[in-house]
């Protein structure tokens, strides 16, 4: 009796999760996959095959955008890590009590504003008649207005800005758990700052680094707003192509194929990252 009731409780508790997974993740993906496998041969005539995937590989614009999105997302991840690590180290190891809480909150504050508004904020800063351009003219570095928007660098700035919190949080958590006496012992045994960072701090923080990198990479790869608004017409992003296929071209078949390719790409890169850092998914994300 007791075991039956506890089993019922277990199923009741897990049912929202299962419902969510099945109806919102698994079913749409099965449908999407089915759609991606159907080629349009005539009006309301479809055949099953890999034609949509072939279109992707035969059209250089598509796979180049794909590769560009992947590379830029990886660079964003690396840049976010390089920027986020010192910030996280400072918060976790060099501050105490209230200062620590305040600094942590300050990292969070930008997230009270919608992503759209934040991105427009960057546009106000970087556009031709924007604050940065005007300031550089004022102090005499620039002779005439310069457009800082609508290039890859602007996309990077936007992506790093959007995702840095997701790097800092797991890093602060893992660095917090690093005993200060380990760092002191490193110095005591003759270690330099660099060798302690390499042999003690980074190995300890590895789960946090990897989980931060996975989240930031996924967020950048799947981001739509920031690359479209800051990148303009010349900087294509793969999510933009998917949007075009679904909404503008009304080519759901190709759009679905793109969606699946993006899923494959993100899974492959995460898998590779885990293998290279010798971490397991449960070790990094399960904390």
């Amino acid at each position: 009796m007791v075991t039956d009731r506890s089993k019922l409780g277990f199923y009741l508790l897990i049912s929202p999760l299962l419902l969510w997974l099945v109806t919102l993740i698994i079913l749409p993906h099965i449908g999407l996959f089915a759609v991606s496998m159907s080629e349009k041969v005539g009006v309301r005539e479809y055949e099953t095959g890999f034609g949509n995937y072939a279109v992707f590989f035969n059209e250089p614009l598509y796979w180049r955008t794909f590769a560009r999105t992947a590379l830029m997302s990886i660079s964003t991840t690396v840049l976010t890590l390089l920027l986020g690590f010192p910030i996280a180290y400072y918060i976790a190891k060099l501050t105490r009590g209230r200062t620590k809480t305040t600094l942590f909150l300050m990292c969070l504050i930008p997230f009270w504003v919608s992503e759209l508004v934040r991105t427009f904020g960057w546009m106000i800063l970087l556009r031709e008649t924007g604050i940065l351009s005007n300031f550089l003219q004022y102090i005499g570095i620039l002779a005439e207005p310069v457009e800082f928007l609508y290039n890859d660098a602007a996309i990077m700035v936007g992506l790093v800005y959007t995702s840095i919190l997701f790097m800092i949080v797991p890093l602060v958590t893992t660095l917090d758990s690093l005993d200060d006496s380990l760092i002191e012992a490193g110095y005591d045994l003759g270690g330099s700052g660099f060798s302690i960072l390499r042999e003690i701090v980074i190995p300890h923080a590895m789960p946090g680094i990897v989980s931060g990198c996975i989240v930031v990479f996924m967020l950048s790869l799947g981001n739509y707003l920031t690359p479209i608004l800051l990148g303009g017409k010349d900087s294509l992003w793969f999510t933009g192509l998917i949007y075009t296929q679904f909404i503008t071209r009304f080519n759901w078949e190709l759009g679905s194929a793109f969606g699946f390719l993006l899923l494959g790409l993100s899974s492959a890169v995460v898998f590779l990252g885990l293998k290279l850092s010798r971490q397991s998914l449960s070790n990094t994300m399960g904390r």
């Binding site: 110095y187 045994l189 003759g190």
Partner: protein, 368 residues
């Protein structure tokens, strides 16, 4: 034998905001000796040790190791190594990597590191455990690995920050003997800080008793125990009964005190001779108190008195009897010799106590 001090502190002072953690501390530690700094928590001993290691900078004073000033030398450049309170073994490395860490920093070739790590592990009695993980070791083994990790660098001075605190009692007793043996084996100067007097008394060649940032006394275990320099040392090192009262008579160095409860006691003045009328403290060790079932002659035994047994705390050879004076209510604890004479002693019985005045130490009470 020429006097060579491995570690010399001269007027070392450390001030935090409005608070002096270490107050003009001076001492020498000769080569190859085991030096302990004993004090209650918050007395500044950890700050002192961290200054020697280089993690904190003294406000004033000088610190010399092998005759060289260490004031402007970083912790990674000093010829001292430290065994941390919780050992601070690196969990991300195996034992071999842990011990080899310091040698790698010095750029020693890999083959030589392997050889030296193997040799130091043999010396601490744990040969062949290079490939084990830190989590696979027992508490005592971790302790020895932590010492090996320092000793492989052949430091001039090894600092130990209460490393036995986290161990259980049995292992702690065992490690005390082992630490002393390791110190003899390596013949390195050990500076050991602890709040546990038995650790300090058992292992050390010399002990400094630290209180409120100052060294109250430096001496051998015997000196501290039998000739404490002041009331704090007398109360802190070893167990002692404490009496406070007014000085009524002084005969040579023999001081007569009348306690607040009206009992007359005699004790030997330890340092400064008190003046008649001044308040003074007297300390007597529990094992110095003689017990008898028959009354002592009070004319020849000025410290004799009759006491009521409050309770008997049986602890084998360390058994103690708690006594209460029937007139003043003052309590006294005395060692209970397990010779069989007092086997049936029970609560409420009367017993006679006495001690020689030379076994009791008298100090002028502070602030009077």
């Amino acid at each position: 034998m020429p006097f060579t001090a491995d570690l010399v502190c001269r007027d070392l002072t450390k001030e935090f905001k409005g608070f002096r953690a270490v107050d003009h501390v001076s001492f020498d530690v000769p080569q190859g000796s085991f030096f302990s700094i004993l004090g209650p928590s918050g007395c500044g001993k950890t700050t002192l040790l961290r200054m020697i290691a280089g993690f904190q900078f003294p406000t004033s004073g000088d610190l010399l190791i092998k005759g060289k000033s260490m004031i402007d030398v970083g912790p990674n450049k000093r010829p001292v190594s430290m065994v941390f309170q919780h050992l601070a073994l690196f969990p991300m490395m195996d034992i071999g990597k842990n011990i080899g860490f310091g040698l790698r920093q010095r750029g020693v070739p890999a083959a030589e590191i392997k050889q030296r790590v193997g040799r130091v592990l043999e010396r601490v009695g744990l040969p062949g455990i290079e490939n084990r993980q830190v989590s696979q070791l027992s508490g005592g083994q971790k302790q020895r690995v932590a010492i090996a990790r320092c000793m492989v660098l052949e430091p001039d001075v090894l600092l130990l920050d209460e490393p036995l605190g986290a161990l259980d009692l049995k292992l702690r007793e065992h490690m005390k003997i082992e630490l002393k043996a390791l110190q003899a084996e390596f013949n390195t100067t050990f500076v050991y800080i602890t709040h546990d007097q038995s650790e300090a008394l058992v292992m050390s060649d010399n002990i400094a008793v630290m209180n409120k940032g100052k060294f109250d006394q430096i001496g051998t275990a015997k000196e501290l125990y039998y000739e404490p320099a002041n009331a704090f040392v007398a109360g802190f090192v070893g167990d002692a009964n404490r009496f406070e009262g007014k000085v009524t008579a002084i005969n040579d160095r023999l001081v007569t005190i009348v306690t607040d409860g009206g009992i007359t006691r005699q004790a030997q003045a330890a340092a400064e001779l008190p003046i008649v009328g001044q308040r003074a403290l007297a300390f007597v060790r529990p094992e110095a108190i003689q017990l008898s079932k028959t009354a002592y002659d009070s004319a020849t035994h000025p410290n004799a008195s009759a006491q009521i047994v409050d309770s008997v705390l049986f602890n084998g050879a360390n058994s103690v009897v708690l006594l209460r004076d029937p007139q003043s209510g003052e309590t006294l604890h005395a060692g209970l010799p397990q010779t069989g004479d007092f086997l049936g002693l029970g609560k409420g019985e009367t017993i006679h106590t006495n001690w020689h005045a030379t076994q009791a130490r008298c100090f002028v009470a502070e602030g009077h």
